[in-house]
C-alpha cells in the first residue's frame, strides 16, 4: 500500500482479470478475490445475510473501499497547514461536479467554524443604506442556483519551471466545480443603494487572515453570488460556511470565504493579496496586477500517473476543460506530443464558467505515447503550450499557468508527467 503506483497497477491488473502488464504478478487483492468465494459460480457472501439498517448512516459516507479518494496536500509547499492548500483528487472523479468533501481547500489563516446564528454580513461605504444582515435575513431574498468552477490562481504553479508533480491531483487539483445557491450580489447592491460614484467593492472574510480583495463594480453587478449552499447542502466549513462570495471565472481568492463585509468605494484597496500576492512577475521585472480571469485550461484525467493503462487496446481518454471567460468551444487531443490533433466530444450541457468533461476513444498499441489536450473557448482563446508561456512569462511567475500538459504513457502502461518541445 505504501507504494502508491504499484498499488494502482495491482488494482488495475485485478480488474482486467489477468491482462498483466510489465511482468507484475497477480496482486494479493486479485488472489484474494479468486479465493473469496464471491466470484461466479459462487453466490457472494453479501447476498446471504442482511445488510445494515437505514438508520446506520444518517449522514452517509463513501464506502470503505473508496478510502483513497481524498484531498491531499504537498507538505513542502507551505510553512504550515493553516495557510496552505489541499488538492481535489481529479483522478478519481467522473462528470464535472466535485463532491463537497473533495473540493480543494486554500486557507490563509486556517478554517474557522463560524456559528451561523452569530454571523453577520455588513454592507457599507458608498451606499445609501448601510446594512447588517443575519443568515436568516439573507435567505429571505430571491435566490439563484448556478454551476461554476472555482480555480486557485496558483493551480499548476508548482510546474512553472518544469514537470515536478507526478499526479493530476497535484498538477491540476486546485479546481472544483459546484452548484452554488444564494442571492445575487446585484440584489443586495440594489437593496443598499450603491452610489453611482462607487467603482470598487472590498470583500472581507471572517477568518484569521481577514482575507480581503478589491473587485470592480462591473463584475460585482454582473454574475457574483453571495452563497450559502454548495451542491444542494450548506457550505462546508472549509469552503466558507456559512456564507461566501462566488465570483465566477475569476481567481478563487476573490471568492472570499466566511464573507462578513462588503464595502463600496472609488478606488481599489491595494491589499496584500492583490499586490504582494496574486500578481504576475514577468521576466522584465514588472508585475501584472488585477489579472482576475482564469483563462482556458484543460487536462486529461484518465489516464494519468494515478490511473495507468490496464492493457493494450481500447482506452477511453477523458478529461476536464474550462474557461473563466465563458464556455468551452472545443477540445483537441494529441497522442503524439502535439504533432497531430483530433477533436474530442464534449459532454452536454456545456455551461459557462463551468468544468466541461471531454472524451475521445483511443486504441493503444502498447508503444510510448505523449498525450495532450488543448481547449479553445468561445472567445477564441487557445490554450498555449508551455514553450509559448515561458517565452512570454519567463519562469518567475507563480500564478495563471494554464499551459497544455503532457502525459507520457510508457510501454508498461505507467504514466509520467513530462514537458515536450
Amino acid at each position: 500500500m505504501k507504494n502508491n503506483r504499484r498499488h494502482f497497477l495491482q488494482s488495475a491488473a485485478a480488474v482486467t482479470g489477468g491482462a498483466l502488464l510489465a511482468g507484475i504478478a497477480g496482486s494479493k487483492e486479485a488472489q484474494a478475490a479468486v479465493q473469496s468465494g464471491n466470484l461466479p459460480p459462487d453466490v457472494p457472501s453479501w447476498m446471504k445475510k442482511l445488510g445494515t439498517g437505514v438508520e446506520a448512516a444518517p449522514y452517509g459516507e463513501p464506502v470503505k473501499y473508496e478510502r483513497d479518494v481524498i484531498r491531499r496536500n504537498v507538505p513542502f509547499l507551505t510553512a504550515t497547514t493553516e495557510s496552505s492548500v489541499s488538492f481535489t483528487p481529479l483522478q478519481d472523479l467522473d462528470g464535472v461536479i466535485t463532491p463537497n468533501g473533495l473540493c480543494f481547500v486554500r486557507d490563509h489563516g486556517g478554517t474557522p467554524v463560524v456559528d451561523p446564528v452569530q454571523h453577520r454580513l455588513m454592507i457599507h461605504g458608498l451606499v445609501e443604506r448601510p446594512m447588517v444582515y443575519s443568515m436568516v435575513d439573507l435567505m429571505r431574498f430571491p435566490t439563484e442556483s448556478r454551476i461554476y468552477f472555482t480555480e486557485c490562481a496558483a493551480n499548476g504553479g508548482m510546474d512553472w519551471r518544469g514537470a515536478q508533480m507526478q499526479g493530476v491531483q497535484f498538477s491540476h487539483g486546485m479546481v472544483h466545480c459546484c452548484e452554488w445557491t444564494g442571492v445575487k450580489l446585484s440584489t443586495l447592491m440594489n437593496e443598499t443603494g450603491v452610489s453611482p460614484k462607487a467603482k470598487w467593492m472590498l470583500a472581507e472574510g471572517a477568518d484569521a487572515a481577514a482575507m480581503t480583495r478589491s473587485i470592480p463594480i462591473e463584475k460585482a453587478a454582473d454574475d457574483v453570488l453571495v452563497a450559502w449552499s454548495q451542491n444542494g447542502e450548506r457550505l462546508r466549513a472549509e469552503n466558507g460556511y456559512p456564507l461566501r462570495l462566488v465570483v465566477p471565472g475569476w481567481q478563487a481568492n476573490t471568492s472570499v470565504k466566511w464573507l462578513r463585509r462588503l464595502k463600496f468605494g472609488e478606488e481599489p484597496w491595494e491589499t496584500r493579496e492583490e499586490t504582494s500576492k496574486y500578481t504576475e512577475l514577468m521576466a522584465d521585472g514588472k508585475a501584472l496586477q488585477f489579472t482576475w480571469a482564469m483563462l482556458a485550461k484543460s487536462v486529461i484525467t484518465r489516464p494519468c500517473p494515478e490511473k495507468p493503462l490496464a492493457g493494450k487496446g481500447f482506452c477511453e481518454v477523458s478529461g476536464l476543460a474550462w474557461s473563466g471567460l465563458g464556455k468551452v468551444k472545443r477540445v483537441d487531443v494529441s497522442f503524439d506530443g502535439g504533432a497531430n490533433w483530433a477533436p474530442a466530444s464534449l459532454q452536454e450541457p456545456v455551461l459557462t464558467k463551468s468544468l466541461t468533461r471531454f472524451r475521445i476513444p483511443w486504441e493503444w498499441n502498447g508503444q510510448l505515447a505523449y498525450l495532450q489536450s488543448r481547449v479553445i473557448d468561445e472567445t477564441g482563446y487557445i490554450q498555449p503550450t508551455i514553450v509559448e508561456m515561458r517565452k512570454a512569462w519567463g519562469s518567475n511567475a507563480v500564478y495563471h499557468k494554464n499551459a497544455i500538459y503532457t502525459w507520457r504513457v510508457n510501454q508498461n502502461g505507467t504514466v509520467d508527467s513530462v514537458e515536450v518541445n
Binding site: R72, E191, A208, E270, D332
Partner: protein
C-alpha cells in the same frame, strides 16, 4: 392564468427597461450603526493611506515587538524561517532567475503593510497588536529594508508618505483573451511539429510528489532515496539524483544573503571572509568548503540565522558526494 402571466411579463419588462434603480427592495436586515461599522471597518487603502488610524510607533519599539511576536517565523533579520515569508532583502532580484519577493523588493505601497499586519498578524494571534504596536512593527520592517532610517516614527501621515522601491513596478490591465501576452492565433491540427517530439523536462529525478496513500500524506519535502528503476523500455535521460538547481536554491536562501558581492543581510557590507556564493561558478568552486562548514561541522550559517534545515545539509552533502556538478 394567461392574463396573470402576461401582466407579470409586462411588469418585468418595465422593471428591466427602467434598470436597477426601480428594482424591488425587500427591507430585510438591520441598519448598520456608526458604532457597529467602526468596530469592523479596519481596512486601510494601500495607495492613499485612507483609513490609517491615530497612533504612532518607532523603529526601536518595533524591534522589541518584532523580536517577541514575529521573529520566530520571519527570522531576526526578516530572512524567514523555513517556508515562512521572507520580509527583507531581495532588492534588485526581480529580474533574476530566482527572484526574492519581499516588502522591500516587491511591495508597492507602505500602508498595505499596516493593513495586513493589523488584520492578519501575528499569524497565530491576529488582531491582538495595538495600533501603536502595528505602526512600530511596520517601522521596523521598513527599516530592515533600508526604506526608512533607524530614527523613523511611523504614523498616519509619515507612513502614507513612504515611497516604496517597487512602487512603479506594477502594470494594471484588465486581462482578457486578447490582451494576455501568450496568445497564439491558430490551433494546428496536422503535422504541427517540424521535428520529433523531445522531452524537455522529466520529473523522475525529483521525488517531490507526496505519496498518495489512504492516510493522506507521508514523508516530507525530499527523501533522498535512490531514483526508482525506470521501465527498461521507456526512454529516460540519465539524471543525477540531486540537481544543481536544488543546491543553488539552498545556497541562495541560506548562504548568499551574506556570502555575495552585495550582501542583502543588514549589517554586512561585503562577503564574510571574501567567500562569495552568488554565481553557479562560485558555488561549485567552493563545494569543498561548503561541505566542511555547512555539512560536516555545521558551523555555517553562523548561529543558523537563516535556518538551514538538516534535509538541506543532507542534500548539499549528497551533491558534493556526487561530484558537485
Amino acid at each position: 392564468m394567461l392574463k396573470s402571466i402576461s401582466v407579470l411579463a409586462v411588469a418585468l419588462a418595465g422593471a428591466l427597461a427602467a434598470g436597477t434603480a426601480t428594482a424591488q427592495t425587500y427591507g430585510f436586515g438591520q441598519p448598520a450603526t456608526p458604532a457597529a461599522i467602526a468596530g469592523w471597518n479596519i481596512d486601510v487603502n494601500g495607495l492613499s493611506g485612507a483609513g490609517l488610524p491615530a497612533g504612532r510607533g518607532t523603529v526601536a519599539e518595533g524591534q522589541k515587538v518584532y523580536e517577541e511576536r514575529c521573529a520566530s517565523c520571519h527570522g531576526v533579520f526578516g530572512e524567514g524561517a523555513g517556508r515562512y515569508p521572507v520580509l527583507a532583502g531581495g532588492q534588485g532580484t526581480l529580474t533574476a532567475d530566482r527572484s526574492v519577493q519581499t516588502v522591500g523588493s516587491y511591495w508597492p505601497y507602505a500602508p498595505t503593510l499596516f493593513d495586513y499586519v493589523r488584520r492578519a498578524m501575528p499569524f497565530p494571534a491576529p488582531q491582538t497588536l495595538s495600533d501603536d504596536q502595528v505602526y512600530a512593527v511596520v517601522a521596523f520592517i521598513l527599516n530592515l529594508n533600508n526604506i526608512v532610517p533607524a530614527n523613523a516614527v511611523m504614523d498616519a501621515k509619515t507612513l502614507a508618505a513612504v515611497k516604496m522601491p517597487n512602487r512603479d513596478g506594477f502594470l494594471t490591465s484588465t486581462w482578457t483573451h486578447d490582451t494576455r501576452p501568450d496568445l497564439h492565433s491558430t490551433a494546428c491540427m496536422k503535422n504541427c511539429k517540424s521535428g520529433p517530439v523531445q522531452v524537455i523536462s522529466d520529473l523522475v529525478s525529483l521525488h517531490v510528489t507526496p505519496e498518495q496513500t489512504e492516510s493522506g500524506n507521508v514523508g516530507s519535502q525530499v527523501e533522498f532515496k535512490e531514483a526508482p528503476a525506470g521501465p527498461a523500455t521507456a526512454a529516460r535521460p540519465a539524471v543525477p539524483s540531486v540537481t544543481f538547481a536544488q543546491v543553488q536554491k539552498i545556497i541562495a536562501q541560506r548562504c548568499a544573503v551574506c556570502h555575495a558581492q552585495k550582501p542583502t543581510q543588514p549589517g554586512f557590507s561585503a562577503a564574510p571572509m571574501g567567500v562569495m556564493l552568488d554565481t553557479p561558478q562560485r558555488i561549485k568552486a567552493a563545494a569543498k568548503k561548503i561541505g566542511e562548514q555547512a555539512v560536516e561541522s555545521q558551523a555555517m550559517p553562523i548561529g543558523n540565522v537563516t535556518n538551514m534545515t538538516q534535509a538541506e545539509r543532507k542534500l548539499l552533502g549528497a551533491w558534493i558526494a556526487g561530484g558537485a556538478k
